[in-house]
Symmetry: C2
DNA sequence: GTCTATAATGCGATAGAC
DNA sequence: GTCTATCGCATTATAGAC
């Protein structure tokens, strides 16, 4: 039925919510099914076991995080449409909003972070899908900025890292503040100032 | 007895080890006491309950992380002994070695990170003892650098954040690589390059 | 697709002997 | 300070009826 949410989705969304508010191992099947309004045994019709729930959640993260960077083939066109500073500013806003502004994605980000030392998959996601994918994309971007004569001559990978690593820390902090329902305005301002500071330092 | 390790310390060290390899809630009292070689009931002679173990671990982290920054009153003297770039380079090495090179402290850092959404204390530790304390210290450092005419005129807090936030991400990555027993040489080189890149951009 | 019933084990914690 | 014994309850997961 269009618009209605299947039991399977309800289970998954409830699991995401509960796991993100404590941890995978602290949440029981009973906790999840109580919230959904079904018996424990019914969950096993939809999911093989508790671990499969987490596997699904990790898979959602991997699928979603892929969407943050535009495909390389679109890059040249996009760069003709904006200034480099605008491009960076917009990219960062997009990155932040993908991870932090959707309640579902920010919950999943918390889960990945919490489970990084319990689940090898979570570590791979952080190292590869989050860190390396982003750095690789930005490396290409900064290489193009260099070719176009916008910026000074630094190794593109160093620029990518110096640009993106502060952002990872800001996101970490953002997820905690958001969880505590504290104000994030200062941090959002900081994100903008970061682009300004960074670009000002490397532009020609 | 001098040199011998008390049962209480053995319990605590075992808890640190096991919690850091999965998570607080995934490790049982039974797991810990089996490893120590005592019965479960004996643990309760030394610790009120399971939560008290975690409280002790968080307290150790707070005590240790305090030691990373030298006291403000020593700062002026230290700054006469080194160049600003040397000072930053040494400070970063100290920071990294405090957190990552002691097996105990790196385990505790992993625990704090894993429990950040399960335990409010862990969030406070990250936001206050780790982030804010460090930034506040560096803010003073960069303000002094400005007064001494070493660096260009940027807001000291912005400099502190731009300098330290990439380091937080590198430490995050370091803890994962270390846990996976992967090579960290590239990351250590990156830490040095970061100081060089950053200082080169802001020096007068 | 959801239910009842239940198995089999594990959990944190306590009482009281030595 | 460590032990044995035990309590009461929670846990994941399955079998089989409807």
């Amino acid at each position: 039925m269009v618009g209605s949410i299947s039991t399977k989705d309800k289970i998954l969304n409830t699991a995401i919510d509960l796991f993100s508010r404590s941890s995978f191992s602290a949440v029981s099947i009973r906790d999840i099914t109580r919230e959904v309004g079904i018996k424990e045994s019914s969950l096993y019709y939809h999911f093989k076991n508790k671990d499969e729930l987490l596997d699904c959640i990790f898979e959602i993260y991997r699928e979603e995080i892929k969407k943050v960077c535009p495909p390389f083939e679109d890059l040249d066109y996009i760069l003709t449409q904006t200034t480099p500073e605008q491009f960076l500013q917009q990219g960062l806003q997009k990155f932040k909003s993908y991870i932090c502004d959707s309640p579902r994605m920010s919950k999943i980000s918390r889960i990945v972070s919490s489970e990084q030392f319990s689940h090898p998959q979570a570590r791979l996601i952080i190292l590869n899908d989050l860190y390396e994918e982003n750095i690789r994309f930005l490396e290409v971007v900064f290489a193009k900025f260099k070719d176009l004569g916008y910026i000074q001559d630094f190794p593109a990978r160093l620029l990518a890292i110096e640009y993106q690593y502060p952002v990872f820390s800001m996101i970490t902090q953002y997820l905690i503040l958001q969880f505590e329902q504290q104000d994030t305005a200062e941090l959002e301002k900081l994100l903008q100032e970061h682009v300004e500071f960074f670009f000002h330092k490397i532009k020609k």
